[in-house]
């Protein structure tokens, strides 16, 4: 029954003459934590946006949760969660109101919302803050909350776009505990990051350079393949050859 969560074949996105994503192919297994690495401007976000149904690919094929990115975007949207690099909850809504809102637009019933809300507040130990405005929380908590809200509707896949930017190492560790817990619950995790220690936490990673995927394997194998000590060296080895960068 082990079906693939994401299948990508020659997926391409072109903006005029600029090929942002150049024929990338990969598969992600269900329940896997898949790291999607690449320097700034390598095309990660563009690729992710196509998979989330936010933009149409120029060519190639891809299915997400078994649905085609070209004509089944609505079905894809029902089955995925998304958390962007910008913190994205409403600051002038309380924790519970945010949960009610985001759960609500995914069509959760009042009873489900109430249960979920309580459960979430309990696991994050935010009982005292439940009625506080989100804007008053420290960034680390906000990020954890945003992640929990992104998977509130039990999606098959969750896309995380640099979810731990600007957070301290302890909170990042806690954040990854949440990711592992989600993966244990059967949610496939597709995550982009710039932190190489986080890359090591992934089951498999891919590294994008100039719109292509130049490497794809488990962290251990990659290190072997590039005869490198750390993931940092692997990444550096690959990204050094990049022709485009944002600086």
């Amino acid at each position: 029954m082990e079906e693939k969560a994401i299948i990508c074949k020659d997926l391409t996105k072109q903006f005029g003459d600029f090929v942002a994503v150049n024929k990338i192919s990969f598969e992600v297994d269900s329940g896997e934590i898949f790291g999607f690495l690449g320097a700034n401007g390598a095309g990660k976000t563009t690729a992710m946006r196509m998979l989330c149904g936010l933009s149409f690919p120029s060519s190639g094929e891809a299915t997400v949760a078994g649905f085609n990115v070209f004509n089944q975007q609505e079905k894809i949207k029902r089955n995925i969660g998304y958390m962007s690099q910008k913190f994205s909850l409403y600051e002038n809504l309380s924790i519970l109101e945010n949960i009610e809102f985001f759960g609500g637009i995914y069509g959760l019933s009042d009873r489900q919302l109430k249960e979920k809300g309580e459960e979430l507040v309990n696991t994050l130990r935010l009982q005292k803050e439940a009625k506080k405005m989100v804007g008053e929380l420290p960034l680390g908590w906000k990020q954890k909350l945003a992640f929990s809200v992104a998977i509130i509707h039990k999606p098959k896949i969750v896309f995380l776009d640099e979810p731990t930017g600007g957070v301290d190492p302890i909170t990042r560790r806690q954040f990854w505990d949440l990711i592992y817990k989600a993966a244990d619950d059967g949610i496939t995790v597709f995550v982009t990051t710039h932190y190489m220690d986080e890359a090591e936490y992934c089951n498999r990673i891919s590294i994008m350079v100039d719109g292509r995927i130049d490497a794809l394997d488990t962290p251990t194998n990659l290190k072997k393949q590039f005869s490198a000590e750390t993931m940092n060296d692997v990444f550096y080895e690959l990204a050094r050859g990049a022709k485009r960068s944002d600086n």
Binding site: C52, G53, L54, S55, F56, E74, K77, R78, I80, Y82, M83, S84, Q85, K86, F87, S88, L89, Y90, E91, N92, L93, E97, E100, F101, F102, G104, I105, Y106, G107, M133, A150, F159
Partner: protein, 368 residues
């Protein structure tokens, strides 16, 4: 449907928790009404006038008393010399002066013809014109008095009738303008800012990744502001009716329908602005500077459109509030029906349709 309600409820939370929004929403209309109603008026009262009287006789005294008695003027002080008067004008102490030549009474008695000089500070031409008109009418009033016993062979007596506004209540002219202005600001600015804010925060992406359709995102953004603008409209109408005494003569239902049309037009304008910008500041700037100024200038409630040069008159045609202003004046003040404003209604409908189509198309292009 339930998702929709959840969304609308969230929008109301945003509005009611943001003091700035609340201030714009409810402070602005009330402030505008009171400001225009009581503080800013084009009527001139107690203008300072100087009388230079070289004649000093019974008839000049009578005229001076009449001037002093009118509420338009206060007599500053009797300046005797021409030079002093010149100085007073230069210092801006007086708006107007009246000079009686020394031979005034003699001339009047013996040659049956005397002249008076009226001097006004025309750096503000409207005030100057109004003041000189007041003075001329006071003088002709006196003239009529001294001619009371004389049978003038031909006499034309103008009978004035001020239609729709017999008391010449200044509020009548600007209330429709203020309604247009307030609705314009609230619908355009608040809508565009609230949508752009979601883009800036990154929540827009989350919404677009959710199964909630983009069209519904827009709709649920727009509906709370539609409701709030409607409340504002009612507040303004109540204030202008009960505080400023401006009557609603026409069909209130028609007035509300036309206002809804205008509100939707402004909302679509706000939507359009939100599709072309990504920062709240830009959105604010475009809708405040880009929309408010033309609304004030080209609606016609402060500066009459008929007096503008042709190019400006042509530009004024694309300002939606101009048409709405006409409709409100016609329906609210003159009590006219749809047959009198159908043309303007059609123009507004056209604008509304055009703006909606363009902004929806823009919104979709942005997503692809």
């Amino acid at each position: 449907m339930k998702q929709f309600l959840v969304f609308v409820r969230k929008e109301f939370y945003h509005v009611f928790r943001d003091k700035r929004t609340l201030l714009i929403l409810f402070g602005l209309p009330i402030m505008q009404i009171l400001l225009f109603g009581f503080a800013l008026t084009s009527e001139i009262k107690n203008a300072k006038i100087v009388v230079v009287d070289y004649s000093k006789d019974a008839s000049t005294q009578k005229i001076i008393t009449k001037i002093a008695a009118s509420s338009y003027f206060t007599i500053e002080h009797n300046i005797l010399s021409y030079d002093d008067m010149d100085k007073a004008f230069k210092q801006g102490k007086i708006k107007c002066a009246i000079v009686f030549p020394s031979s005034f009474n003699e001339d009047l008695k013996h040659t049956n013809k005397a002249s008076i000089q009226i001097i006004a500070d025309a750096s503000d031409p409207n005030t100057a014109r109004t003041l000189t008109n007041y003075l001329i009418s006071i003088i002709s009033n006196y003239q009529a008095e001294i001619n009371a016993n004389v049978q003038v062979p031909y006499q034309i007596q103008p009978e004035l009738r001020m239609l729709y506004n017999p008391e010449l209540n200044g509020s009548m002219n600007f209330i429709p303008g203020v309604i247009a202005l307030v609705l314009m600001i609230i619908c355009t600015t608040l809508t565009s800012v609230s949508i752009v804010k979601e883009k800036e925060l990154g929540t827009m992406e989350i919404l677009l990744v959710s199964p909630f359709k983009p069209l519904y995102v827009i709709l649920s953004k727009v509906i709370p502001f539609l409701a709030l603008s409607f409340i504002d409209l009612i507040v303004i109408l109540l204030l202008s009716n009960y505080v400023l005494g401006v009557p609603i003569r026409g069909n209130i239902f028609l007035l509300l329908m036309e206002s809804t049309l205008f509100i939707i037009t402004c909302l679509s304008l706000g939507l359009l602005i939100s599709t072309v910008t990504n920062s709240q500041q830009t959105a604010m700037l475009i809708s405040m500077m880009g929309m408010m100024l033309p609304t004030i200038l080209f609606t016609g409630f402060l500066f009459p459109l008929e007096n503008m040069p042709l190019p400006l008159q042509i530009i004024s045609n694309v300002v939606p509030s101009r048409w709405y202003y006409y409709v409100v004046k016609a329906v609210m003040l003159k009590g006219l029906g749809l047959q009198a404003v159908w043309k303007q209604t059609l123009i507004l409908l056209g604008m509304c349709f055009f703006l909606l189509t363009v902004s929806f198309r823009n919104f979709k292009i942005r997503l692809a």
